[in-house]
Symmetry: D3
Subunit: 327 residues, 6 copies
């Protein structure tokens, strides 16, 4: 039986299906009875859920974030669908088709990863090649790199988003680097590949997207630098010394890639390569964000709602025909 998606729920349906559960809380009703409040979600949305006549035991059986098979009924409460659940059973994530529960890039992951490898393969500097190999040959890390989102919201906030963002930036860089021949292409390509690699560590994306404790306290920008320093140490221990100049230039590009202090960069760009990386990152992040906001706005109005991070509403009426250059 196919999964019943959240956005397809109608009030008054009897439901027996598997959903992702988050933030279960045990509370007292006004009569003093116990009930559980929680969220149920899949990749199409999230709803409130109440389980009346709950017990301490049921509550303790629930993961803070995980999967449950529920049996219950949908109802309309304050203009929104809510699920009233009678039974709840914890499900092993391995039994679940994750694809139904988490948004995911609509591009081909292995093709993108191959293309990333191919572009990085054009790097000529042997030390940079060695450093990147240390990352590319780290299978566990590369698997996470292909799975992680690039952010929890704003842009590329879906599984595979980190890879897609990195891939697109590499494509942009490769096509425009010939226009700026004074820029050290090897550094730019290496910097792009590594600039968000610690998102794999900063973000939690097993069940929904959030920050790990360490990620929140330290941040991916700084942890990228730590990861590079450690990889370089490992290489040195195995006889492959990377010049500190190369390491600190790549680290600088990463530290400066948000472009300004207010966005969490502890350094402003101070090399041509750092400027290029920060601009390509901003370009790709903004284009993904703007196009997604435009596509996701429901209805057919020409203007979207106010978008606070962009400080504007967006105008999305197409004024030129479809069969143009970019398509």
């Amino acid at each position: 039986m196919p999964h019943l998606f959240i956005k397809e729920l109608k009030p008054g349906q009897m439901i027996e299906d598997v959903y992702m559960v988050t933030q279960p809380i045990l509370r007292n009703t006004s009569r003093g009875d116990l009930y559980i409040a929680m969220y149920l979600s899949d990749k199409t949305g999230k709803v409130n859920c109440r389980m009346w006549q709950a017990t301490q035991e049921i509550y303790e059986s629930l993961p803070k974030e995980g999967f449950v098979r529920i049996r219950g009924k949908s109802e309309l409460y304050q203009n929104a669908i809510q699920l009233i659940v009678n039974q709840v059973e914890v499900i092993d994530p391995d039994e679940v088709s994750l694809a139904d529960y988490m948004p995911r890039t609509d591009k081909n992951v292995s093709e993108m990863f191959n293309e990333v490898n191919s572009i990085l393969g054009e790097i000529k500097n042997s030390q940079i090649r060695a450093l990147l190999s240390a990352f590319l040959s780290d299978k566990k890390l590369m698997k996470e790199f292909c799975t992680a989102p690039a952010a929890t919201r704003m842009h590329h906030d879906y599984l595979g988003g980190l890879l897609e963002h990195t891939f697109t930036m590499l494509k942009v860089a490769k096509s425009i680097l010939p226009l700026y021949p004074k820029v050290q292409a090897d550094l730019v390509l290496a910097g792009i590949f590594l600039h968000d690699i610690a998102k794999t560590w900063e973000l939690s994306y097993k069940m929904g997207f959030s920050y790990t404790d360490e990620g929140q306290l330290v941040g991916h920008i700084v942890h990228c630098v730590v990861m590079i320093d450690k990889k370089a140490d490992e290489l040195a221990a195995n006889g492959t010394e990377i010049d500190r100049d190369i390491i600190s230039n790549i680290q600088h590009m990463i530290l400066a890639h948000h472009g300004q202090y207010d966005f969490g960069s502890p350094k402003l760009p101070a090399t041509a390569e750092a400027f290029m990386l920060s601009r390509i990152d901003d370009l790709d992040a903004k284009m993904n964000q703007v196009v997604t906001e435009i596509e996701n706005e429901p209805g057919d109005s020409d203007w979207t709602m106010w978008k606070n991070p962009l400080q504007t509403r967006l105008y999305r009426k197409k004024v030129t025909e479809a069969d143009q250059l970019g398509e």
Copy 2:
């Protein structure tokens, strides 16, 4: 006899040559005698100049900005070269090889302009094509477009700079537009071509680079919008009506292309095309500025002086070999 460039002047030389003169002022010496203070310059630099025993007549013969053949001598004053002039004769600019006096793009102007035409030729929307034709067929304007600098300082501040900046942006756009298929390519290309076109009107670049009065009071961003509105009116008067939607979308892209209010944009980007234009403009301007700052810094230090507009010193040591991807 070849021109003696300012930066090659040594103290104690007898000089008879043509220089650009700017800001002549008539003053009294402490004894009450009249003298003229002025600047003499060519594309390699600018020096102070004094003409003692001057007269009101000589002063009034001088242009505020123009060319003079001087006869005099160089001397060292407060660690800088200064010219003491005995004779000064005003020269018609037409007799002068402007190339010696104004910095100029080192790229081929007609090749760039042809390429601009070629890229714009790929636009499919017939109304946008008509609008651009109205500009491209304006010979006087196109001559200025190929001659003007893109700015008086910071980036592309040399003759042909406006064309070079526009050309490079079009190249960038053409290569990255396929990566963002939802973006209306025709609008982006038209917006790039027109985004700084009123620099031809805002800037004065006959003798040195400065702002015209109107340019300073109104600004190129707003005047671009005026120019587009007038061209559209002319087209309409000749039977070619352009949709107001297309006009206002292009005007919006231009008004928003500085990306933030503080940089003089009266509108923030509110379309995908406006975001892309503002990011490509920033990318190309910053790369030109950073590479130029790095190249122009005298000496061989790894770090440049503090660059206030960038809020940093720049690190310019090459850490990778020359024969890399980008070259």
Copy 3:
């Protein structure tokens, strides 16, 4: 039968009357039936409205913004009045007494307009007179000028607001200009008259106040400049040449009248006249806004609610007697 105003509605009333309708949306109930959600409003307020048992046909008959005669009943829902409608009939706006539906200045429009003409009549510079005549003799524009609001919210946000704001500013200017004799009075008066004239184009005020697409994308500040340039071109075509100096000074005043970049001015004031215009505009806008906020706050508390645009609550207790100078 007089119109039943929104603010006089009580729950449980049977209603048959004409209201302005905005933002109708067709939705499904939880049972899958269709219903229409929309707003109904007049100059005294706006309420939610639901039409159950709606059809696609009824929905498509409704204007996005227009007038409807409804038959239905009021009820209280979540502490607010809501209308449940059984019948809805679209009404031609021409049959409607607009005065009931849109807030309007309580000052006399024709008296104000005459006074504007009279003050502008004192301008001595013949070119400026010619330029203003080109606007004053544009009957369609002047009708809009007398009708448009000065803004959609904040200050003078009612029909006739643009005229009232312009009129008051001219009165202020006329009374204080003698205190600043170095300021060119003709420029200031002309600048005030034209500074918001493109609000007639930027705003839509047929049914409620909003921005036109072009207005939102380009903005009234820039379009004022376009309008002036075109009027000057028309005059020139008819043999009346206006000095570019005069045109660009007036355009500068308008571009700079918001006083700072953050408020959408692409230029900062750079002439004495531009400083005076920006200060008089700010004075009149703020006084209208503050007095209105104080008057409109319901209840009798000495302090209003927090006013975010002013970053304060307002204290409105009168501490002096009424019979004072200003009354």
Copy 4:
């Protein structure tokens, strides 16, 4: 013998005249001899002065700020006039015509003060009248009020500047208050009269303009509030009780009159009267500053130098004829 003004000094003149002396310092020459460096000034300018072969005794006889009769000679040093002094004699300020040494309003002080009294005489609220009388009858304070500058630089930075600024603001208020009948005129007029009254205490203007220690540490804004509180206490001790509501409203207007925190106002305007006061203050200060900058710029260029506090150069070309409304 008339005073020889600084700006009329030519090199090589023998001079015996009285100048204001500031910042005398005793130093060693390279040979170990003592000399005194100091500034000499009058209302037309300031020059460096050196007294060679000085002694500790001469140095100690000099006031840090005062008047001296010097005998010496002018010379040109690094493009500027410098005085070499042989004799110096301290002069009692009472023997000096202060008018030669300090810039002063070119308006009639007693006429302005009478007009201030006359405008304040129209106030109807008896308590406010009583409070103002306590100030107006304070002869010492009123003498300072008529003498002090309004600032050390930027606007009204000359003797009588405080009175002129207050006077002009009262004139503006009186002419525009009828346009805003909801505003309590009595409060506005009282607030204007008192808003800068503590400049008399904050500034030192006996010899040049500077801050007193207390003025620098506490500031005129806060001290105005202290002065009002004390005057009210004195009145209460004499049987005239002023409502705290009136006092705190006036104090609020004063605290908020700089309009924003960054300019040293500890409160933002929160009453209609405070808004009006802050706007009239800004209007008059800016108009005085801009007109003065335009007038004082030497030369005949259309644009002034860059004015940092205004973040612009100023355009000062007159584009309309002289015989206009404002004159």
Copy 5:
């Protein structure tokens, strides 16, 4: 019978008890009947309350802020407890145990006040001692000083909070002053004692915490300065003259203690003592705020909700054992 605390209320209880009442409003029901809406609160929380079948007379008998004995019933409305009241009787605050209704420091007030006296007793400068004595011997003021909160929210927002904040700051100062021997300890201690003393005047804390009208219009920072000036005047009238230098240094410390203009300080720190005071104030306020936010967050999550004034969520997991240095 002990007071039934708000946070212990369950739906469906019959209640007869005394609560603090705030913001009573008389309104019409949809049927046109009168009812009163008001808040009832004690130190543990605040709930909505409705009295149906109310009369104008009952409404007018209610204080805007005061105590009432109510008889009624609790119910659940929109997930929150609400009281439906049948009878309401106004109670004299003197009959009420204030401790049940207002949050209060959990430290010992008289011990803290004694310690404050003891630390101030170590001041050596006799004039400062005299000034402080004038405050310490003002019994009414000292009673308020021991009762007032330090703020209405953010930090030390409970009765006794002003004393606790002042006390802790004095303890910090006393322990760190020996590390900075160049700092004038007497000034720092006096400044700390007086820096918020006008909170007693700025805040209303008889029933809930709010601002007085005067406090809101003028602010505690400025009123502290007024209070000091008046105390110094009184002392002078009694023969004890305090140097203006000392007074203005203390006043400066107080004016500058918020550390930046944006936080309402009209002066930035300009003495070593002002820097120290502003830093100790910030340290103690932030530590109280952060620890309180961490303690008050319900639930057992490691991260608190987003705290807007701190621009972060707070991490509160203890990672070290309890028996450490600080305990």
Copy 6:
């Protein structure tokens, strides 16, 4: 023969002594001869130096930063001492008494270091003790820790400054932690010890104070985090596992210790300990900076020059007697 200090130089002296040389440049005189311009300095100041009749060989023998024995003569040039050198000989830094050339803390280094050890010895958490031991037992690092300045300017900008700053902060923390018992003292003490430890790596202080290339590109804040991660890895490799919770809490404190993004912190404080560390750091840095600015200002004026980083002039008149609490 004792070193002749720069600040004791008088014009006309014959000099033969050792000075620090920085920034030697080879230039042409106006006659085309070669000369060398360079700076000579010691801990008391820095002067310009010219060596006429120089050769390419001499120039190439000079270090960019190092020590030279020069023979020459002092002269006065433009009001400043300048050295004219005939002979120059490079000196091995090891032969030089560094104490004459670099400013140095006036506190006892070994006493401070012992006290640091003693305070850290009170930490109870065994994992934190282990982590700190890994740093404290790193002899090379501890030697640098005792030698490095805390900054190149602003505060503690002298040899031993890093130790003095860390030591004072630990003293402050130890004395105030008992006032905030909910704060985890062990974390605060560890965080203080490590918060600037990478200054040893960021700064170059062999000859004058500057940034290393790596330090400039990456920064001490980030490198502290790298150092901690590596030490933890080493400990783990040796069997002592440190909880990631502890590591990331300490790293967070360090990343957030500048307190705001604009000052280069990539994270804002999000734990009570991070808030305390950032406030103690700011307190100690500012007190050192302010006291030093006050002490170093030459002359006896009550006000220092304008201090741009503090946005104020400083008032330094002592208004209380010397024998007070703090001394």
